[in-house]
Symmetry: C2
Subunit: 265 residues, 2 copies
């Protein structure tokens, strides 16, 4: 079954930014709880907009969410220092989002993720440039899988993120990401793939429509984890219907249960 990383606690959202600035624990806990109840397996926390105070904010978010919600978190930052500070506070086994093939980032994060049991997102980004083709993504992803497993991370704890780029920039970007998901899942049995959905629709109207149709295609391509808003009923409906259509829902049980609980829309 799809592993769901709940995306809402991200300071790029105005209400979250304000809550973090004011240290409004009750608000953050409520958002975390809603996402947990909607089916999240991990709660993502991202304080990227705070620049110089990111580490402090991330630490506060970890303590605040885990004080009331019994789920592991996804610690979401490109900054190895923020991640390494947050991981030390975290109870249980977090997801680290993310490591990449960029030399500095890889080298400074590797000791952190090998010394704490955790899940790790491996972003298909190399030093030089953003990937555009399927091949470049698979190449960078493969290199990451090899380096991480070589360093002792079990393959089941690696989540390759193909790096979604907008179809508004290049209409082949959807197929490039989908092809990479499929190839990576076939090439490395046991590995996970993960992505956020919203980049795909950047620059276009009615983004939620695009995101949920893209989710269906990702699931069909073998995606095993996803960063999304589990309180978005239309998105979760697309997820459930597609899991059923692709043989991931035995006896259509989850779909029918969601129907009975009035969760399909």
């Amino acid at each position: 079954m799809m592993i769901i990383v709940a995306e809402k606690i991200n300071t790029s959202r105005k209400s979250i930014e304000e809550a973090v600035r004011k240290r409004d624990a009750a608000f953050i806990i409520r958002i975390a709880r809603e996402q947990a109840e909607a089916g999240a397996h991990f709660i993502d926390v991202n304080a990227g907009t705070f620049v110089d105070q990111e580490t402090g904010c991330l630490r506060w978010l970890v303590e605040t969410v885990q004080s009331e919600v019994d789920l592991p978190l996804s610690l979401d930052s490109p900054d190895p220092r923020a991640l390494s500070a947050a991981i030390r506070l975290h109870k249980g086994e977090p997801m680290i989002n993310s490591i990449s093939l960029e030399e500095d980032r890889f080298q400074s994060l590797l000791p952190v993720i090998t010394s704490h049991p955790c899940h790790v997102v491996a972003l298909c980004m190399a030093q030089t440039s953003m990937p555009t083709s399927i091949e470049e993504r698979v190449e960078v992803g493969s290199e990451l899988v090899k380096k991480l497993t070589g360093a002792g991370i079990p393959i089941e704890r690696i989540y390759v993120d193909p790096l979604i780029q907008p179809v508004s920039v290049d209409t082949n970007m959807g197929l490039a990401a989908l092809g990479a998901i499929k190839e990576i899942m076939q090439k490395f049995p046991g590995v996970n793939t993960i992505c956020g959905l919203s980049n795909i629709s950047f620059g276009l109207p009615e983004r939620r429509i695009i995101n949920r149709n893209f989710l269906s295609l990702c699931i069909f391509s073998g995606l095993s984890a996803v960063i999304l808003d589990p309180t978005d009923k239309q998105l979760m409906t697309a997820l459930l219907a597609t899991e059923m259509l692709t043989g991931r829902d035995e006896y259509c049980q989850n779909y029918i249960e969601a129907y009975q609980n009035n969760r399909l829309i």
Copy 2:
């Protein structure tokens, strides 16, 4: 771009059955026009519920629709006699839905479709049984393509229908149809694939949700034609979004245009 066969003029719908029984031309013409305006390339006509009077009803439907709507029809019947009567009345080049590998049906329909220029749906059904696996579908589909091209039908006019079966019966039925679509498109360059969507959701609640998610997966698998209700805005939105996501909508033009015309939902 996807070839759309509009499905509403089918006497299994109560209002259509009544209109055909009363020979209510105005009603039938209105439904045909609505579907034409919503983007249909063919208007399907099916009078299957009339059993003994099917041929007469089908002939009336052909004349009625074509009296006012300038589109080719899809003549929809398992009965070669009804199809051969209807094709003679049809102006332009109809779609014949369908021929199959069942011996009687194939032999009696072949002279009809080779003597009138037409598009032909080749249903993946053989004498003995319904197909269940990808392989059986590809085998029957391939046999049909070979026989039809051998009889002089251009490959571009053949539409292989993988025969959709409900996921409620077997959760692998979605993947079986999708895999067959992909393989047939790869095996026979230039051929079309087509399917109706609604069988996939038979026996399950909220069927329209399932149908539109399945449509996305069909498009991604290479489907080139589809039998659906083009006045269903949610379904057409899924179609447009998925065509864009799979590189079939240059510069996202159709999607953006649909947005501007308030057709996305």
